[in-house]
């Protein structure tokens, strides 16, 4: 029995308990599943915290299949935050059915597995455990747009899984081992290993939504139910970024010149193209989807700089991005009400309908844009610092240009929200469901808190990303 895996065991127990409760309980009382899932998430978060504070050395389990260390525990914490946020935003909403909590927990398990994977099998299992429930969730709402989103996600996801698997097979053929930390670039058969590495990275950045492989993101985000989109925008990106960092830093740390430049170019391309495309969007879900693409580009900067500051900045940025995106989606859910989409026009005059919502939207958007006194600024600052330390000014310039374009994209919804209503919009007051309001207030407080006093969190990520072979 491996005690290091208690956060994951708690989630597995939660999955079974939720399933049984829904099976036994009557059709009407769907809320039991939500409460059980929330209990499992909170228990897992407590266990993760205890484990993080008491863990001194990394633990390797299952013949080095997984490595539990401070990094994997911080990833656990991030994805738990994403799951709690998504669960509360969709709390007991009849539209999403009774199975939403189960599938959410299974996807969470996949993300946690990705955070600690140390061999090819675990990597692939994590990707599939994460994807399968999300395919179903994306299609779960209604057969129309949502079905299209689910099918698109399924087909492209299966295709990228195939590419990933092909790459892993080539890597195994050229190195003879499946364990990341045993991969030795010096003894690999180079062209074969190069092809394998390229295909594997393509498969992973597809999940992350990096620019040449980003086509599916806006359609899937637009068609999925709002809490599912929230979950994909935060949780999936954390999982994919964590596994990409582990795979490249653990397996190919000695041969940075094989992958460093490629990841760097992808990062710059993604930051600029993602923000440019966000400028033209009228639907807010699509805008946030392109914002998610651009933010995945910022995250790649942390990987491309390949130093300890990069790994720290990546973890910190994922947290501030997640808080801002959770807050933004909570607001969208309130504004959407019974519908499942929000256009820019729906926001017109928001400040007259609900001044607090408009204020919170401002904070979330400014954090995504990276304005001082919000967490987004501190996150971008650390990424910039990592790129400069790594001696890669190109990355830093790309980041700044991307952020400037992004600012314009994020100001457009704000401009609408503070515009005078023309009279044709609905003026009914906006309902605040309690669960969603908790998410919103906590996330906004966190965004401001991280912008003003980031010290404690910086301490945690510094400790967690301190891989000894990095400078």
């Amino acid at each position: 029995m491996a005690f290091a895996l208690w956060p994951e065991y708690t989630i597995v127990l939660g999955i079974f308990a939720t399933m049984l409760a829904i099976m036994i309980g009557s059709r009407e009382r769907t809320i039991v599943g939500y409460w059980l899932a929330l209990a499992a998430l909170v228990a897992s978060a407590i266990v993760t915290t205890v484990d993080w504070s008491s863990r001194v050395l990394p633990v390797s389990l299952f013949h080095q299949g997984v490595t539990v260390d401070a990094f994997s525990l911080v990833v656990d914490g991030l994805v738990l935050l994403a799951a709690v946020g998504a669960l509360l935003i969709g709390w007991n909403d009849r539209r999403y059915g009774t199975d939403f909590p189960i599938l959410l927990l299974v996807a969470l398990l996949g993300m946690m597995v990705l955070g600690m994977a140390n061999n090819f099998i675990v990597l692939f299992l994590g990707i599939e455990l994460l994807s399968l429930p999300l395919y179903i969730l994306a299609a779960s709402h209604s057969p129309g747009v949502s079905g299209e989103a689910g099918l698109k996600y399924l087909l492209l996801g299966a295709f990228s899984s195939g590419i990933l698997l092909f790459g892993l097979a080539l890597l195994y053929g050229s190195s003879g081992t499946m364990v990341f930390t045993q991969l030795d670039p010096a003894t690999m058969i180079l062209p074969l290993a190069g092809a394998g590495l390229a295909l594997t990275v393509v498969g992973l950045v597809f999940k992350l939504g990096i620019v040449p492989f980003h086509m599916w993101v806006p359609d899937v985000y637009e068609g999925s139910p709002m809490p599912v989109t929230t979950y994909m925008a935060f949780g999936t990106k954390v999982g994919a970024a964590a596994i990409l960092l582990r795979f490249l830093f653990f397996g190919f740390s000695l041969s940075v010149d094989w992958w460093g430049p490629a990841i760097g170019y992808l990062a710059v391309l993604t930051m600029i193209v993602g923000n440019l495309l966000a400028l033209a969007q009228k639907d807010l879900k699509r805008l946030l989807a392109y914002s998610g693409i651009a933010n995945a580009g910022y995250v790649l900067v942390g990987i491309a700089s390949h130093n300890m500051s990069g790994a720290r900045a990546l973890l910190f940025y994922l947290l501030v991005y997640g808080l801002a995106i959770l807050a933004a989606f909570a607001i969208l859910t309130f504004v959407a009400g019974e519908r499942d989409s929000v256009s820019l026009n729906d926001l017109t005059g928001l400040v007259y309908r609900s001044p607090w919502l408009a204020a919170f939207l401002t904070i979330a958007m400014l954090s995504l844009a990276g304005i001082p006194l919000t967490g987004g600024f501190v996150g971008k600052f650390y990424l910039l610092q990592a790129a400069i330390y790594a001696g890669q000014p190109g990355l830093a310039i790309g980041l700044v240009v991307g952020a400037m374009v992004g600012l314009a994209a994020y100001v457009r919804p704000l401009q609408r929200a503070f515009a005078k209503p023309s009279g044709s919009e609905s003026i009914e007051p906006i309902r605040w469901p309690i669960a969603g309001a908790i998410v919103l207030i906590v996330c906004v407080a966190g965004t401001i808190g991280l912008g003003v006093y980031p010290g404690p969190v910086v301490h945690i990520v510094n400790h967690s990303a301190a891989f000894y072979w990095l400078k």
Binding site: V12, I15, M19, F62, H63, G65, R94, G97, D99, I102, L103, V106, L109, V113, I121, V122, L125, E128, L129, L132, P133, Y135, I136, A139, S140, S142, P143, G144, L170, G173, S174, S175, G176, I189, L190, P191, L192, A195, E338, R339
Partner: protein
């Protein structure tokens, strides 16, 4: 090497046939060709159990199910395909796919992987060997796959749930129109 070449060509013909064939039934039959060719590959690699499982499970069970579904769903329907939205998409994709596949094949043939020829572990490829691995050191992976299959079962229930009575007005309007 000769056996490999012949099998590779057969497998490729099967794979290309699946996407080129006009009738869905023909596609399914081509897929069987591909699956059987892969099974013989497994035998060459001395993975006998995997080969048997491939034939029994895929060619035997799944493909028969496929054929049933295809015959039931497409009986008496014409097989006109929808037009492409972007012209020249197929040709571009085909050329790129051939270039990528050819490049990978060249790399694979010029630089064969040598680590694998170190000899086989005991009981490799037969039922006992598979069982020893799956129920021994790799049991946790099996458990994860079991959880994945459970999720798939949940997914089938979710996606086949009858539509709610109080659907959104737009969908109902569309239903009425059709």
């Amino acid at each position: 090497m000769i056996a490999f070449g012949i099998l590779a060509i057969v497998a490729l013909i099967g794979g290309i046939g699946v996407i080129v064939a006009r009738q869905p039934v023909h596609s399914a039959l081509f897929l069987i060709v591909n699956i059987v060719a892969l099974a013989i590959f497994y035998i060459i690699l001395s993975a006998e159990f995997l080969a048997a499982a491939q034939v029994i499970v895929y060619a035997g069970a799944i493909m028969v199910l496929f054929l049933f579904v295809v015959t039931l769903l497409t009986a008496g329907k014409d097989d006109e395909e929808a037009g492409e939205e972007l012209s020249g998409q197929r040709i571009t994709a085909g050329v790129l796919a051939i270039l990528a596949g050819g490049g990978l094949a060249v790399v694979g043939v010029l630089y064969p992987s040598q680590r694998i020829q170190l000899g086989l572990p005991q009981n490799f490829g037969n039922l006992r060997g598979m069982g020893d691995v799956l129920w021994g050191p790799d049991f946790v992976y099996l458990a994860a796959v079991a959880l994945m299959l459970l999720t798939a079962a949940v997914g089938i229930m979710v996606l086949n749930r009858p539509p709610r009575k109080k659907a959104d007005p737009e969908a109902r309007l569309k239903e009425r129109e059709s």
